[in-house]
């Protein structure tokens, strides 16, 4: 019972492994299927670096065991965009100095992807509230908040029907 099957769909691909029950989803992603985009910071649910989408909702992958993700659809930072390309949000991070060392960035991107999906026109306060669960020790958050608001604007503009 200590070792169990973990079968899940990650970024559109199916994976099946037999793992220790105590293996966290974060370590499963990084060590079992080599998706190292998900970063592991504090390992106790404070820093948010390991945030992924589980069935479309953000979750801290250090606070879930891989065996709990059986049958789930998991999306990591690698799955946010087609290979070799950047999402609107990722481009906005670059343009607004939303990252320096980059350690927290995967978690930031996943958290903000959920926010912008559910709240296409967020206020600065809403962005800041969404980011309370993600720690960054370099940027001071100003660039990250600006990137989120910029991305929201670009995504809304892209959705607008062309007017002559």
């Amino acid at each position: 019972m200590g070792r169990q099957a973990a079968r899940m769909n990650v970024n559109g691909k199916s994976y099946a492994r037999v793992v220790d029950a105590r293996l966290t989803l974060a370590d499963f992603l990084r060590h079992e299927i080599n998706l190292t985009g998900t970063h592991v910071g504090c390992e106790h649910g404070v820093c948010g670096a390991c945030t992924v989408l589980v069935n479309g909702r953000t979750a801290r992958s250090c606070l879930m065991f891989a065996v709990q993700a059986n049958g789930c659809e998991v999306t990591t930072v690698e799955g946010l965009t087609p290979e070799g390309k950047l999402s609107v949000l990722q481009q906005a991070f670059i343009d607004n100095h939303g990252l320096q060392c980059g350690f927290c960035t995967p978690g930031m991107l996943v958290t903000l992807t959920e926010l912008l999906r559910d709240t296409p026109d967020p206020s600065e306060q809403e962005v800041r509230e969404a980011l309370t669960g993600n720690l960054c020790r370099c940027t001071g958050y100003a660039g990250i908040v600006a990137a989120a608001l910029d991305a929201a604007r670009r995504l809304r503009d892209a959705d607008k029907p062309e007017t002559a």
Partner: protein
Amino acid sequence: MKPAPFDYHAPRQLKEAAELLAKLPNAKVLAGGQSLVPMMNFRYVIVDHLVDLNGLDELRGIVVGDERLRIGAMTRQRDIETSPEIAKHCPLMVEALHHVGHRQTRNRGTIGGSLAHADPAAELPAVCAAHDAVVHVASVRGIRQIAFHELGSGFMATTLAPDEMIAAIDLQVWRQGHGYGFHEFARRQGDFALAGATALLDIGADNVVRRAALTLFGVATSPVRVEAAETRLTGQPLTSGAIRAASAAARQIEPISDIHASGEYRRHLAQVLSSRALNDAAQRAGVQA
């Protein structure tokens, strides 16, 4: 920072979960895992068996009855926060949930887990205390019901037996149009509060308070109802003086001192936050006190 090894069990039915808990030694229930898993990662908690309740659909959901609202123990905090039924019948809960952790943790965290974890500064137990909740506790012996105030038994401890689990929570629903207020003081959004207060007020057209509930949390091992304040308010016209007197009554507590705040500071917060919560409740009930 990795949990000690354990055997994992994922029952599909409540009966199966109860049987596992009855027979397995040193077993613990896994709900949302947003408090338990950090404790396991730190090895504050080392278990031989983990019984995961996430597969029990029967413990999920919100049912509105005549005077009661039933929330399944495994209902996610985020689902409660966004539920139209909860917004309509228990708006205090929605207000409180905005202060519970972060969206990532509310997506996983459950109401039953929050109650069983029993952190003194947790918001959801305070809402349960305010709404005179009844807790349904399941085991191989069946379901027993206990009043919420009988659940806590000390610092982060409950009266639940090792083979018992919370199955559902019933909240007493207040009349539509009742006022509610929630205020807490934390150093950062999403942190556990140093202290907090919730207020419920049912005010008649004559401006007389028909029913009042004032609850403090973060000041003792479990949420505390300030009965002196409730008695003072009930049956009286709601005035700013009445709110002042009720908030002063919230000072008559002996809060815990710890590294985060002194007891005296928490007493001060209890009064200030009670006053804010009562004022919000009055305003939402349509009264300018």
